[in-house]
Amino acid sequence: MANQETQLVDNILIQSRRKILTLGATSLAGMVLGAALPEQAHAATTYTDNDILNFALNLEYLEANFYYLAAFGTTIDVANAASTAAGAPLITLNQTVGTKGTVMGGSKVPFTTVTVGSYAVETAVEEGKHVRILQSALGSLAVAQPAINLSASTGGAWPTLATAAGVTGGATFSPYTSDANFLVGAYVFEDVGVTAYHGAASLIVSPSVLTTAAGILAVEAYHAGLIRTTINYLDPVNASGYLTITGQISTLRATLAKAALLGAAGGAYDANPDDFGLAGFSVSLAGAASVTSTRITDADSTNVIAFARNTTQVLNIVTGGGAVNAGGTAQISPATGVFFPAGLNGLFK
């Protein structure tokens, strides 16, 4: 569809939007809606759309490996009969930007319900495609897959995170042992993906890149809706405690996200807390007395706009607090811990 004229127009748009961004977040604060843009990590750093896509690629490496292991029992760079039958892309890992690492832990979930098993397979295939399209879009600039910890063994990423969240029996938590535990594991990732792509959207310069990012944002939110809906159906009145666990995970994420603001004012959709579990809440419909609502959507309660997080906040979540010093005064780079024991590859780390 692009021709010479649309290309020229795109160039004008790109240059214009870049100019606006260079004004920085502070000068734009309060212009409309009484709110600022999401606070930008590395505000003084010059970055490009490719740096943003590479940040996303690190997260997609993590998600894709988790779902491939859960659904097929293999990592994204190794095909087996199950992954081939499902149409999951086989990912090439020959990128040279950054430090290439290996994936530790993870195993196929012995799914017992068609519902959860088929959802896992679908999600694995889609996250694999996200890795592939980001690698393809970035070409030789794509970062290598960093070291990833998906282990449920003692000291592994999952028990560490579950313990930090205060989940009962967290020290032995594994997302690979049952359908329900797999859903909890998926819950850890999906809403984070939404906030990361949402936070990045207004930083992207190229309209075509923005369209792709918006499309991936939509898919992450479909996944999040899928996972949250399924947990809700599984345990609608918290009889098995799964609604409680989602609340504990959301609270941990919100705490880590708040710590990573480093005292700066949050953006328009970066309230605190910026995350809610599945426990119901009260709403007023058409002016009537309050009634109880589920919380399938993870969004602010007033405007119902999904939350956004900047790269430092996302880093602090996926590294379990690894992006911020104990005093909460400065940022550590590279951030390491939990899922990314050696940190991410690329500019934002």
Partner: protein, 329 residues
């Protein structure tokens, strides 16, 4: 700064015109919806025009979900015209079967409460962001589900009209008509927001509402699929796919989906084992990137007409209150 914005606005308008100049096969409109050919609207538009376009859709969704959850629609105070809007008449709602959905369990009722609340708040948010420029609620026809179901081949014209308020399963089909469309409408609109609008926070707001629409779509598609698995029945999955096929027919030839030139639909499937994939996500099959639709494509769907130059019909019997109200491609 003003000069820069002016350049950007002109560039956006020009780009949109170029991108929308695809040929469209004009076929007959759905029986029961009226057509009205009026002159094409102006080619220039503002960020407020984009937000008001979205507000039309949110009015429709809110009226549907609020009535499904409670039997009552938007409060009058949530439907009025901003003082500076060029539209000043609040439209009426044609009810059809609209009523609280029958036979809901407590869990189902609470989920309807959530979606109704969230769409109500989207109406309020957009109205607040637009201020005096906010459009009033356009006329909305909730009886259009009937002709639409006939057009989709779900019902015949001799049967009583399809009633999305009759049961939870029927409600899910009614919701299915809207939800993927909401996602794609915001995806299509996001890149049209000007640089000044990005700075003003419009883009991040639009992206955040896009995400919420996708949560809702994920909920609806998960529910239809899950109930199919539970009941070992393809019935409602097949019906949803007929709706998707109708949407595709209404917009054929005018695709704006990234990475694809064909359908912007993903059919639901009934998984038969733990190793076969479901199809909850609506996205292009190559890259798993969600679809986008242009303002014209969205209007074709909500008007129930693939014809270019149509200004009203379907769910909007007097047209949307939008400079995009007349389809131009």
């Amino acid at each position: 700064m003003d000069k820069l914005n002016s350049i950007v606005d002109k560039a956006l308008s020009r780009r949109n015109f170029l991108a929308g100049a695809g040929a469209v096969a004009a076929t007959t409109a759905i029986a029961g919806c009226s057509n009205d050919n009026v002159a094409a609207s102006s080619s220039g538009y503002t960020d407020a025009d984009i937000l008001n376009f979205a507000l039309n859709l949110e009015y429709l969704e809110a009226e549907f979900y609020l009535r499904a959850a409670t039997g009552v629609g938007l409060q009058a105070s949530d439907t009025t015209a901003g003082s500076a809007s060029s539209y000043q008449t609040v439209g009426s709602v044609t009810m059809g079967y609209a009523a609280q959905v029958a036979g809901l369990t407590t869990a189902q009722q609470q989920i309807l409460n959530e979606i109704a609340y969230e769409e109500q708040e989207h109406v309020r948010f957009l109205r607040s962001a637009l201020g005096s420029a906010a459009i009033p609620r356009p006329a909305i026809d909730l009886s259009f589900f009937g002709p639409l179901a006939v057009a989709a081949g779900i019902y015949t014209s001799v049967q009583p009209a399809f009633n999305p308020f009759a049961s939870f399963d029927a409600f899910l089909i009614g919701a299915f008509i809207f939800e993927d469309v909401g996602v794609t409408a915001y995806s299509g609109a996001a890149p049209l927001i000007s640089a000044a609008g990005v700075a003003a926070g419009y883009l991040t707001a639009a992206a955040g509402i896009l995400a919420v629409e996708a949560y809702h779509a994920g909920y609806i598609r998960t529910s239809i699929t899950g109930r199919g698995i539970t009941n070992s029945s393809n019935t409602y999955i097949a019906i949803a796919n007929q709706v998707a096929a109708l949407r595709a027919m209404l917009t054929v030839g005018n695709s704006a989906a990234p990475s694809t030139t064909s359908s912007v639909e993903t059919n639901l499937v009934l998984p038969t084992s733990t190793t076969t994939p479901s199809a909850i996500v609506a996205a292009d099959p190559t890259n798993a990137v969600g679809f986008a639709r242009t303002v014209n494509q969205v209007h074709h769907i909500v008007y129930g007409s693939p014809t270019v130059g149509v200004a009203k019909g379907g769910f909007f019997p007097s047209g949307t209150n939008s400079i995009f109200a007349t389809t131009t491609a």
